[in-house]
């Protein structure tokens, strides 16, 4: 393990990776899928199909001509039964294509030709790779959902020299990336080479937290003998998988507040995104499936390979059903995941995990007064003062919040996690950030 690969702050939540040894299983084919037309950061797609259309597996059903966007593809063959607003796991209601599955999946005949698994990334044109990555609808599958092709496009003045694949999976309870690295390591490594070629980087690093030694070993074997590639084992500490922490831990390069890794010559992609890129180039298949960890109060937690658009209800049933009362459904990890108001929401490109919690798992106690213990200050990986930010936000003093660098917060939640008084620290910071954002937008007009 690279003991120097550390960042300041952070916390050690109990890992709860109980599904780490659960091999990925195929999900029983859902009867219908709901595919939101925005599963990424950026412009929403326009529907390319209408109610009544027959669609084939992998057929684009939504796209838009915008610089930051990613197309959406049919994850099953079937018939479009609705194009309507639906609740998404991001908490918003988005336009979505609802497809009733046909008895069998037939791949769309318009799919681009695959280059085969023995393809040589160095022989490909970088723009061709980026175009295929965009066509395949790839977005950051670790949770952020930023369109992958955009990140790979070099900007004048900042040429990336390193591609980092994020295999930290620092959130408790999630094992989908772990299983992916273990079960499809060749895809991950090929994806890394494709990304390096696409953006012109000469070095590739895969960062894996030390609690996945088997995955790190597999990947290390594959990159052995290639001096351009390496696998770094990182200490287990949340939020190790946050982009800025990862870049610092691996390369000692600090991404400035308001900046992106490209500002320091780095492109960071999730391991699942890399594997999906390899599939897109080698087989021509777009992103229609992903691995999802289902854990919590279900009879048999595990990992499933799921068509996008599958309802959380289907996942819950595949995992053997609930074992008790259900009080909270989380899309994502317990530290940053989003609590769902309803179980009937679809898996989207960024959904790596669904956690079903019972009332006994929640620690809802009323907030007490801040005792100024400074635990939030110690825990904050961005070096902020969450207690002060919370104070400012509660007083609606947005100027003070800005003075305390509220915009630098990446909302990892470490502060609220450690707060002995249960103060809504990251929650009030979110409020301040959204209020400042609203004002900035309003101020423009």
């Amino acid at each position: 393990m690279n003991l120097w690969a550390r960042f300041r702050g952070g916390v050690h939540p109990d890992a709860r990776k109980t599904t780490a040894q659960c091999a990925t299983q195929p999900l029983p084919r859902p009867e219908r899928v709901v595919l939101p037309l925005r599963q990424h950061i950026g412009a929403p797609c326009q529907p390319l199909v209408k109610k009544g259309d027959e669609v084939a597996l992998g057929q684009p059903i939504g796209d838009v001509d915008a610089p930051v966007s990613a197309p959406v593809h049919a994850s099953v063959s079937g018939k479009v039964v609705a194009v309507e607003p639906r609740l998404t796991p991001g908490g918003r209601t988005e336009q979505a294509v609802v497809i009733e599955a046909a008895p069998e999946d037939v791949p769309w005949e318009g799919l681009p030709e695959g280059l085969g698994w023995d393809l040589d990334p160095e022989s490909l044109d970088p723009a061709f790779i980026r175009d295929r990555v965009r066509q395949a609808g790839l977005v950051g599958m670790g949770g952020a959902g930023f369109p992958a092709a955009v990140k790979l496009t070099p900007r004048p003045g900042s040429e990336p020299d390193v591609v980092i694949l994020n295999g930290a999976e620092c959130e408790p309870a999630i094992t989908s990336d772990h299983r992916l690295m273990l079960e499809q390591p060749e895809q991950v490594v090929l994806g890394l080479r494709l990304f390096m070629r696409a953006c012109g980087a000469r070095r590739g690093v895969i960062g894996v937290e030390a609690n996945k030694p088997d995955a790190a070993a597999k990947l290390s074997q594959l990159v052995a003998g290639d001096p351009a590639l390496s696998v770094e084992v990182l200490p287990v500490r949340y939020p190790q998988g946050a982009e800025k922490m990862l870049v610092w831990a691996l390369l000692r390069r600090a991404v400035p507040v308001g900046g992106i890794p490209l500002d320091v010559g780095v492109v960071v992609q999730n391991v699942a995104t890399a594997a999906a890129a390899a599939v897109a180039l080698a087989e021509g298949r777009p992103l229609t499936h992903r691995i999802v960890t289902v854990s919590g109060r279900v009879a048999s937690p595990g990992n499933w390979r799921v068509p996008l658009g599958t309802s959380f209800v289907d996942l819950m049933q595949a995992a053997g059903g609930l074992t008790g009362a259900l009080a909270r459904v989380i899309a994502g990890g317990p530290m940053m995941g989003i609590a769902q108001p309803d179980l009937d929401v679809p898996v989207i490109k960024t959904t790596g995990s669904v956690i079903l919690l019972g009332p006994e798992d929640l620690h809802e106690t009323p907030a007490g007064p801040c005792i100024r213990c400074g635990r939030c200050v110690t825990a904050c990986p961005m070096g902020l003062l969450p207690a002060q930010l919370c104070d400012a936000a509660m007083a609606s003093d947005w100027a003070r919040a800005e003075r305390f660098h509220v915009r630098a917060c990446m909302e990892c939640g470490s502060c609220s996690y450690v707060c002995p008084a249960r103060r809504p620290l990251v929650q009030s910071i979110r409020l301040a950030k959204s209020e400042l954002g609203r004002r900035a937008r309003g101020g423009r007009g």
Binding site: F7, L87, V257, A327, A339, I371, L385
Partner: protein, 325 residues
């Protein structure tokens, strides 16, 4: 939309996990850490010490309960902070205190210093220390009648017998040995006598990361350095830093009072400033001031400076701000 069979889902903003260390657990840890010194006080000074401790803690709890009741607010006794204040105050009192002294002090600490300013988290000085300062000003005789351990004979405290640059020839009595100071077999207030017992509790708090190591290190480091440099009779760097560390309230103050979260800075940088300031003021008072002991006023003064420190110490965020390098 399909509702779940179990009914309502609770939606809340992440994180959905909690480390599980609560305010009351922290207060409990402080009480545990003070237990060796408190038991030591009873061992050294007998049942009078036990009575002072019980009265002080009881009065603190009762005052907080009464204040909350008067204001029609839910009781805050559960957080345990009133008991910590009561115990800390007791440890700063003389063993021969009349019974009303700890009661009055604890009531003042809670009602005036803590609750009147908004309760836990809002008081601007440490309630126990402020109460001790109040008692010292109002009842100097009762507060400075020291007895020696075991035989309860009136005695001087180790710092009072130490000559200072201003009164170099006044040796008010024989100096106790380091060993006596370390074990606690000297005169003094209940809890400040035995460095050993205090350090046992301090180690517990440091290991459990309840207190920030910077504060005792900065405080005692400054105290040692300056008392060595300035505290001697034979010129610079002839002082006795070990004596200054072990005698008086330096250890109790540095580990248990300056580390009070509420009245100290919240940033690591601010805590260094706070700690060094405590050490500096302690030395100034001990060597050049009218009181033999300076820890009390040093911490109180730095408590008052804390909001200023927190106002000006705003660390740069990780990575710096783009375009401002």
């Amino acid at each position: 939309m399909a509702k779940t069979e179990s009914g309502e889902l609770l939606v809340a903003s992440s994180p959905h996990l909690w480390a599980g260390v609560s305010t009351s657990q922290i207060m409990r840890d402080v009480l545990i850490a003070l237990a060796p010194a408190a038991l030591g006080a009873v061992y050294f000074f007998g049942w009078r010490a036990a009575l002072v401790i019980a009265l002080s803690m009881g009065a603190a709890a009762l005052t907080e309960w009464g204040c909350m009741r008067l204001m029609g607010k839910p009781s805050t006794l559960g957080d345990g902070s009133a008991l910590v204040t009561g115990l800390l105050l007791a440890l700063t009192l003389p063993p021969a205190s009349p019974v009303w002294l700890p009661v009055l002090g604890a009531a003042f600490a809670i009602a005036v210093v803590k609750v009147a300013f908004g309760g836990l988290g809002h008081n601007f000085v440490n309630p126990a220390l402020a109460a001790r300062a109040f008692l010292l000003a109002a009842f100097p005789a009762a507060m400075t009648t020291w007895t020696s351990p075991f035989d309860a004979v009136t005695t001087a405290t180790p710092l009072a017998v130490l000559p200072t640059p201003f009164a170099p020839d006044v040796l008010a009595g024989p100096l106790p040995s380091y060993r006596d100071l370390f074990l606690g077999t000297v005169g003094g207030s209940l809890g400040e006598t035995s460095a050993l017992l205090l350090l046992i509790g301090a180690v517990y708090l440091l290991v459990k990361r309840v207190i920030d190591w910077r504060i005792p290190v900065g405080f005692l480091g400054t105290l040692a350095l300056l008392s060595w440099a300035l505290g001697g009779q034979a010129g610079l760097f002839t002082g006795d830093p070990l004596y200054h560390l072990l005698a008086g309230g330096a250890i109790l103050g540095a580990f248990f009072m300056a580390t009070d979260y509420v009245t100290g800075p919240i940033t690591p940088q601010g805590r260094w400033i706070f700690a060094v300031g405590c050490g500096l003021i302690t030395v100034l008072i001990r060597l050049y001031g009218g009181y033999p002991e300076g820890v009390l006023f040093a911490i109180l003064l730095m408590n008052v400076v804390t909001p200023l420190i927190d106002r000006f110490i705003v660390p740069a965020p990780f990575g710096g701000v783009k375009g401002r390098a």
